[in-house]
């Protein structure tokens, strides 16, 4: 019973995990990206369409990454090169994503593909309790584990990671150390957006291998919020995403058991609890030193005085 719940938790949390990781990369470089919801949709549709056409899931994931990266580069160009308003540009990206996927997705509705299948990792999947939920999953989930570790290592080990964090904290300091601030920010936005796209593709290639209009159902917004809960750390993003996943799994379970509580109320629960946790964690965050990159949301202009 617990194993099954945990398994559902991981599967429901993964799309949000990818999206949160992508958003963290954006924000570490100092760029707020409210286009996550749109990017997820673009990733979901691109992934589905590519797999549908080619029959290859790998190509589907790649297509999702590239499509979301291209869409994200619009946000990057507007906010980094043109120093536009990050909030407005991000909101526009979400609306763009919703619109364009509804338009091009129309012909995809009703089609099916063979989605990701479980691949048991020999040995590890035999572990008690955590064996099945974590190590008898599909490849994208294993990839998400890897990504959590790699992103954290990237921020704290190589010089590039330090440069990227400095760009988000104090771009002028990075600039005077010879770090190409504009390039670093643009790269962070595009690559981060690509990872968000994979989160969307998880929905259309693994969760439910089909395309449904607006299938992200607000998960992108949860990811935006989870970045703060995770205080810009990829490990905490994992915890946050699985929190959401866990409550989703539980409410599905309740539905299956056939309670009298309205389905709508149950479906609301994951969002409700995530917001609740966020509020509590933000209050705690304000008491201690905030982890928020100091120049988050601020455009960088070399000749402007700060």
């Amino acid at each position: 019973m617990f194993e099954i719940l945990l398994d559902a938790t991981v599967r429901a949390g993964t799309p949000i995990l990818f999206a949160t990781l992508g958003a963290i990369i954006n924000e570490r470089a100092g760029i707020i990206n409210l286009g996550i919801e749109g990017l997820m949709l673009i990733g979901a549709l691109a992934g589905f369409a590519a797999t549908q056409a080619s029959g290859s899931l790998l190509l589907g994931v790649l297509a999702a990454f590239v499509a979301a990266m291209l869409a994200g580069s619009i946000h990057g160009f507007i906010t980094v090169q043109l120093r536009g308003n990050q909030i407005v540009s991000g909101l526009a990206l979400t609306m763009f994503g919703i619109g364009i996927t509804a338009l091009f997705g129309r012909s995809m509705v009703g089609l099916t593909i063979a989605g990701f299948e479980r691949v048991a990792i020999p040995g590890l999947s035999k572990l008690p309790v955590i064996g099945k939920p974590f190590f008898n999953q599909d490849l994208l989930i294993y990839f998400s584990f890897l990504l959590v570790v790699v992103i954290s290592l990237f921020f704290y080990r190589p010089r590039w990671g330090l440069a990227l964090r400095t760009v988000g904290e104090n771009p002028a300091a990075a600039d005077t150390c010879g770090v190409p601030v504009i390039l670093a920010r643009f790269m962070a936005v595009t690559i981060g957006s690509g990872i968000v796209g994979i989160g969307g593709a998880y929905l259309s290639l693994a969760t439910t291998p089909m395309w449904i209009e607006n299938m992200t159902a607000g998960r992108g917004w949860i990811a935006v919020a989870l970045v703060i809960f995770a205080s810009w750390s990829s490990y905490r993003a994992l915890a946050g995403a699985y929190l959401f996943g866990g409550i989703t799994a539980m409410q599905l379970r309740f539905q299956a058991m056939g309670t009298t509580v309205s389905v709508h109320i149950l479906q609301m629960m994951p969002y409700f609890f995530t917001i609740l946790v966020l509020v509590i964690s933000t209050i705690r965050l304000q008491k201690g030193a905030s982890q928020q990159p100091e120049n988050l949301g601020q455009p960088y202009d070399r000749e402007d005085r700060k």
């Binding site: 190589p158 964090r165 904290e169 300091a173 600039d175 005077t176 010879g178 770090v179 070399r302």
Partner: protein, 504 residues
């Protein structure tokens, strides 16, 4: 001579919207010299330095490095040919550790570097300068003086041929400055060039091989050592403007303005910033507080202005207990504050100079009509203050962050003193001010004292303390370790007290 110059700056011009920061600047820097740039606040010194490091792109003019023209499109280009700089405003990441801040400035670090190797390497540099810094502390926890050292280290770990230092000594103690000068002289003897900016005449006289005076965006003259003295430089810089004269009245010690009894304040780390500190301040008195920065001066100022809470002890203003009142109610009790950290607590950077000038009394009837702002009155107030304090404020409606460091300081002083406060708590009020402005601030403080304002003057500049104070107290590790009479004391005596070696 010209062929051998390391850097030639030719007819540089740089404008910002509504401001000509540099009009026409030419000067040259020889290899192996310490070249000082002198000029009033807002003369364009920092702007010129930023042009030299590729941060600003000049509108016109040429730079020749080693005889060949160079064009910088980013600071990276200037770093690559060997120009490094310490900026007037810190270029540090407060949330990062000392190690991370320095590492990013290091040259030739592999992408996957060995933490241990570079820790040892950076630690060696710190040891070389006798700096007691833990590499793993985040920078925000450090005093401003320590942060300045990190900036210096960031420059010194690089192998630069030209080192530019924009007012590095503004926040250093005289001892620390002396240590910096030893390093700079040694670098000069190795054939490196140093371009140095300071408003402290004593230092300029001590260290410079040549001095260039900058005035209103133009280079006036370059003089080699021996052809200038303090007076000559001052008159070149300020021109015909007169240094204001003043006479200091003796304090009468009649009416008690403020009394502090056994005050203790703990900092974020739970250590005592102020430790059973007691003192008395009389009406019209100027009480000098000497001490090496970081010995509780900031805590003293913050607790007096309501920014920090005392953990024990009492503060009495005219006999009224104000110990734990908020900033607002202590303001009502009439305390003005010139903070140490201008940019973060002294001003609202994005707001205009006009608005920053009325920030303390925006609600006063003088600046509003019913519930609306009276823009005309606010503007009039600003023009008066700008004129009175000779603030280079740029075009109307200029956000204050565009102003030069010294001019921001003048705005704060003008605002704080405008309400005729009964008590002024001033931390390093003339730090970063040119000599003319510093004199003017002294005059304002003395004028205030004449009218009954009491001043707590926290400063590291012994000349300033000796000149202005009725009495000087010395702080060490949050305690009052001595109290001397400026008429009879010596610099040596204060120095000994500051080092904590003796008590009086």
């Amino acid at each position: 001579m010209h062929m051998t110059d390391l850097l030639q700056i030719q007819n540089i011009r740089k404008t910002f919207p509504g401001v000509v920061a540099l009009d026409d600047v030419s000067l040259s820097i020889a290899p192996g010299e310490i070249h000082t740039l002198l000029g009033e606040n807002g003369a364009g010194k920092s702007t010129l330095m930023n042009v030299l490091t590729g941060l600003y792109r000049p509108d016109r003019g040429e730079l020749l490095f080693d005889g060949s023209p160079v064009h910088f499109s980013s600071p990276r280009d200037s770093l690559n040919i060997g120009i490094g700089m310490v900026h007037q405003h810190f270029m540090l990441v407060p949330a990062h550790t000392v190690f991370e801040n320095i590492l990013l400035a290091l040259d030739g670090v592999a992408n996957f570097f060995s933490r241990r190797k570079y820790k040892v390497k950076i630690q060696q540099v710190l040891d070389q300068f006798e700096l007691d810094l833990d590499l793993d502390t985040p920078v925000w926890k450090l005093s401003i003086g320590a942060q300045q050292w990190i900036e210096l280290i960031k420059l010194l770990v690089r192998d630069c041929r030209l080192l530019i230092l924009d007012e590095p000594t503004a926040v250093l103690t005289p001892q620390e400055s002396a240590r910096l000068f030893q390093v700079l002289t040694r670098l000069r003897d190795q054939g490196k060039s140093v371009l140095f900016i300071s408003h402290k005449m004593r230092e300029v006289m001590e260290i410079s091989d040549r001095v260039t005076v900058l005035k209103k965006g133009c280079s006036l003259v370059t003089l080699p050592r021996g052809e200038y003295d303090e007076n000559r430089l001052a008159s070149l810089m300020i021109g015909e403007d007169q240094i204001p004269m003043w006479i200091k009245p003796a304090c009468k010690y009649e009416e008690l303005a403020l009394e502090i009894k056994n005050l203790s304040v703990r900092n974020d780390r739970g250590l005592a910033d102020l430790d059973k500190f007691s003192m008395k301040l009389y009406r019209g008195q100027i009480l000098g507080v000497a001490g090496v920065a970081g010995n509780g001066q900031k805590a003293l100022a913050e607790v007096l202005t309501g920014l920090k809470e005392a953990s024990s002890g009492r503060i009495l203003a005219k006999g009224k207990d104000i110990t734990n009142s908020t900033a607002k109610s202590s303001y009502i009790a009439g305390i003005a504050h010139i903070p140490e950290d201008r940019k973060s607590i002294g001003i609202a950077p994005d707001m205009t100079v006009d608005d920053n000038l009325i920030m303390k009394n925006f609600n006063s009837r003088a600046f509003r009509r019913w519930i609306f702002q009276d823009r005309a009155a606010i503007r009039k107030n600003a023009t008066a203050k700008i004129d009175q304090f000779a603030i280079k404020a740029g075009p109307d409606g200029n956000p204050i962050r565009y102003l030069s460091g010294g001019n921001i300081q003048k705005v704060i002083i003008a605002r704080e003193l405008s309400e005729k406060p009964s008590v002024l708590v001033a931390l390093y009020p003339t730090r970063g001010l040119d000599i003319g402005s510093a004199e003017y601030v002294h005059k304002v403080v003395i004028d205030g004292a004449n009218q009954g304002m009491s001043t707590i003057l926290i400063s590291e500049d012994l000349d300033e303390l000796l000149k202005l104070s009725d009495e000087i107290v010395v702080m060490f590790r949050g305690r009052l370790v001595g109290c001397v009479n400026p008429q009879t004391t010596t610099r040596e005596e204060i120095g000994l007290l500051m080092s904590g070696e003796v008590q009086r």
